[in-house]
């Protein structure tokens, strides 16, 4: 079991695929078919394209504040691919790749960042919660969903995400503690991308890594190379198996790096050196999987080029579907506060409409 082999107290990082796309150990190569490998790689490219297009739309004034994922694709996609359709996904806000794997349509995702709540109204069969902005607060929802599974005798599991900054929150402690005490089937993924906006990881905790925190809660923790799709998938899969077998929660630290800004409102040059970013670019999760797949003969330059062009066309078309026609309906602002509008809300809505209808827009 990898959780025994990689005790976080030893600060040993679990890796399967190195920066050059070579397998560090053959025995850990995940049991994924060629089709699956291509699907996962294509989803990573899709995620990168969505981010790059969103950043460019934002610069053109066509998109609002956006939180890019560049550099963290393996951490997100490798983990989310380990759960099934019937399992739950509880996001923070920077897990685009996980959402795509879960089947959330890009139209929803863009609509959310475009500023309309309907973006968070996912199709009925998608068991994912909306983005949670208050840091670490979503972990408790994940634990609650898992506790409910135990009460109802259901076998599905919950995968949830938090950043390195989020581990400093009280909610992180409470959620992990409850999950362990009630043996909730939850997989906690920390995307340690080294910065909480401008605050570096070392300011968050004196612990030598974040996975080590699991030990005090009485659950396994593992430090994983977050830029390695295979390591993330393996560790997550093992954690999912534990949860499904009634063995309770697991904490996974994905050691990764945010190559871009916190959001489009942030300027990372103020708090980190270009040299550091350049070093991490060499560890790009997409780069190493691309090398691996090329060595395996599954793809070539032409395939990559065609796929990227195809994805870009798709992303552009989706954005254009929502652009300029996604203003919020006034009724929708009021309608979802309660199951039934209160007399107060009805009055406020009708007074406002009367004002608008009076021609005073």
């Amino acid at each position: 079991m990898i959780f025994d082999e990689y005790n976080p107290l030893d600060n040993k990082i679990y890796q399967v695929l190195d920066e050059n796309g070579n397998l560090v150990n053959d025995k850990d190569q995940p049991n994924l078919s060629d089709d699956e490998l291509l699907y996962l790689f294509k989803t990573m490219l899709y995620e990168r394209t969505i981010d790059e297009k969103a950043l460019s739309y934002q610069r053109q004034g066509r998109m609002l504040t956006y939180a890019p994922n560049i550099g963290q694709e393996a951490a997100q996609i490798g983990s989310a691919y380990a759960i099934d359709k019937d399992d739950w996904l509880v996001p923070a806000f920077r897990e685009l790749g996980a959402w795509l794997i879960k089947g959330v349509p890009l139209k929803n995702i863009y609509l959310y960042w475009y500023g309309n709540e309907w973006g968070s109204h996912f199709p009925d069969d998608i068991k994912m919660l909306p983005v949670s902005v208050p840091i670490a607060s979503q972990l408790q929802h994940a634990t609650g969903i898992g506790m409910a599974n135990n009460i109802k005798g259901e076998k599905n599991v919950v995968m949830t995400y938090v950043g390195d900054g989020g581990t400093s929150h009280g909610d992180f402690h409470e959620a992990l503690n409850f999950a362990a005490v009630f043996n909730a089937p939850v997989i906690f993924i920390i995307q340690n991308n080294q910065y909480a906006i401008s605050t570096p990881r070392k300011v968050q905790t004196k612990s030598k890594n974040l996975a080590v925190k699991a030990i005090a809660y009485g659950m396994p923790g593992i430090l994983v190379d977050g830029n390695d799709l295979f390591a993330m998938y393996n560790a997550s899969k093992a954690a999912v198996e534990r949860a499904r077998n009634g063995e309770g929660p697991t904490l996974i630290e994905a050691f990764t790096y945010r190559l871009g800004a916190h959001t489009t409102s942030d300027d990372p040059t103020k708090y980190r050196e270009d040299k550091e970013v350049e070093e991490w670019k060499k560890k790009d999760p997409i780069l190493r999987l691309e090398l691996f797949l090329k060595n395996k003969g599954l793809i070539d330059d032409k395939w990559v080029e065609n796929t990227k062009a195809e994805l870009e066309k798709d992303v552009t078309a989706t954005f254009e579907e929502i652009e300029g026609k996604s203003d919020t309906e006034i009724d929708d602002i009021f309608k979802f506060t309660y199951e039934k509008m209160t007399p107060q809300l009805e009055e406020q809505l009708s007074e406002y409409k009367a004002f608008l209808e009076g021609g005073n827009k």
Partner: protein, 326 residues
Amino acid sequence: MPNTLNMVQAINQALIEEMNSDETIVVYGEDVGVEGGVFRVTADLQKKYGEKRVFDTPLAESAIVGTAVGMAINGLRPIVEMQFSGFSYPAFNQIISHVARMRNRSRGKYNLPMVIRAPYGGGIRALEHHSESTEALYAQIPGLKVVIPSTPYDAKGLLISAIRDNDPVLFWEPKRIYRAFKQEVPEGTYEIPIGKAKIIQSGEDITVVSWGAMVRDVQKAIEMVKVKDISVELIDLRTIAPMDRESFIESVKKTGRILVVHEAPKTLGVGAEIISIVNEKAFLYLEAPPTRLTGFDTTFPLPRGEQHYIPTPERIAKTIEDVVRY
């Protein structure tokens, strides 16, 4: 045999009857399981329904509420307890950021049928943080309902409505009158609608609006002013949010005067809202300034001082007279 209960027993009976008919209901919090709650409101529930549906948690209010959000999303109807309303602040973020917003945020995909129960209010000679009245803090948050009963009968019917509501309800229990009196309460379930006030008695000269433990004090005051020929219309608000505005608007149109009595601090309290509504909707009917008699804008005093904080029947009676004689 008549079913004569105090408020603690009435709430307990509501929980039992609802748990009998709805297996998705779970009850949890600090000391609610084995002990049955520090006020015994959840007594015997764990014995009846087992540790899966009724359980004690680690001491963490934020997680008690936060996990209830997840449970409600995943098909259960959690009823969680804050041991005292003054201990609910660690859960403030969950309540405001998620409990109140999940329906709107997800455009109706996820609703949260959950109840947060808490004993609130002073007058029981308790330690610091055990006596405050916090209803206004929560009543301003869009998406929350805030309910406060004033009798055992109302407590049972309102709690049943709260449990069956598909929106989150904060059920604040006036612990000063938990065991103050008994009342005949029907066996079997019945609902008292949320969002509807109750006219406890009608009168001609002044409207008094109150809720929770203060209602009994107002009733005592009404007896005191009766001998002075003052006829009072008493309204028990019962739901703080969403408030039944019609109840006191119509009443003020008849009496021309209004006094709001609450235990919570005065400034920016629920009384301020009620009086604003009266000014907006019944301004021309007023014959005296709308008036508030409330707790002070101070920290709730420790037991040796609390008799000064909570408006007494004597002060209420004096204020009623002042408003009527204005």
